[in-house]
């Protein structure tokens, strides 16, 4: 019962946000939040450009999405994998432990940090 509720809520939230990000262009509309880190420091954060990238992705524009935030192309499948592991955490603890292995989390962390530095050096 609780499980079904969560699934319904997540799908509803995805639909609402999907619609908003499809209908409006974050780079043209002032309504979308600016990155606080960028505003404060002048440097891009690892997530900068993800709103524009999602808008582009929803319009099928993969190339533009990649230009806005390339990390999203790794992060989104990774999120999917983690959601899957999370949904089976108690039923399949071994699989959960494998997908949440320290090595994998280190890998993700390293990727985020390297991406953070590189994009500010090369202006990605």
């Amino acid at each position: 019962m609780r499980r079904t509720m969560i699934i319904i809520l997540v799908v509803a939230a995805l639909l609402v946000f999907g619609f908003i990000y499809y209908a409006l262009d974050p780079s043209a509309s002032s309504a979308f939040p600016q990155c606080t880190f960028l505003t404060l420091t002048g440097y891009k954060c690892p997530g900068c450009g993800s709103q524009r990238a999602i808008h582009a992705l929803l319009h099928g524009d993969v190339v533009d999405a990649f230009k806005y935030n390339a990390m999203l192309f790794i992060a989104i499948p990774w999120i999917g994998l983690c959601v899957y592991a999370e949904s089976r955490r108690t039923r399949n603890p071994r699989q959960y432990a494998r997908l949440n292995a320290p090595l994998l989390i280190w890998l993700f962390l390293a990727m985020v940090l390297i991406w953070w530095v590189l994009r500010n050096i090369f202006g990605w």
Binding site: A75, R91, Y96, L109
Partner: protein, 177 residues
Amino acid sequence: MHYWINHNGVQSGPVDLDGIKELHLTSAAYVWHEGLPDWVKITQLPELQGTYEVVGEPIVAASKPQGGAVTGQPYQQQPSMPQQQYANDLEPAQTEPCPPTNLVWAIISTVLCCLPVGIVAIIYALKVTNKYREGDIEGAKRASETGAWWCIASIVLGIIFCQPMLSMLPELMGSGM
């Protein structure tokens, strides 16, 4: 209901009630299911009565296959004993499910909330699995909770900065989509 079984040091599961019958267990087996704080003897779960063969004092302590968390002497067993055995166990991953790492939320807040707070949440996710691997279930649970608070913090901060989004609702209506 799914059960994890430890029979003479050999672990299996998760299995359901019908699956337990097929395992041909004896009363020396240990059982764990979600909600139980620790392994219990199969004889202590009334719903499993009749699924196992009652035997006398087991002679199993000598040969303990790898990964076995529970060994002999079940009759003089003190409540704290299995816990100590976990600490020495190489793979506690097989005894109790890992506490949530909140990795999903950590990644989402790193990528979408524009806030480096998410990175702290990732580090806590790492802490959860590391402690869990070391057999420190309590420590893993604590790290899991702290990590969850970091996720909540970054999402709340994200919502505060997303406030201008509410103002675009009229724009949405006006666009006629």
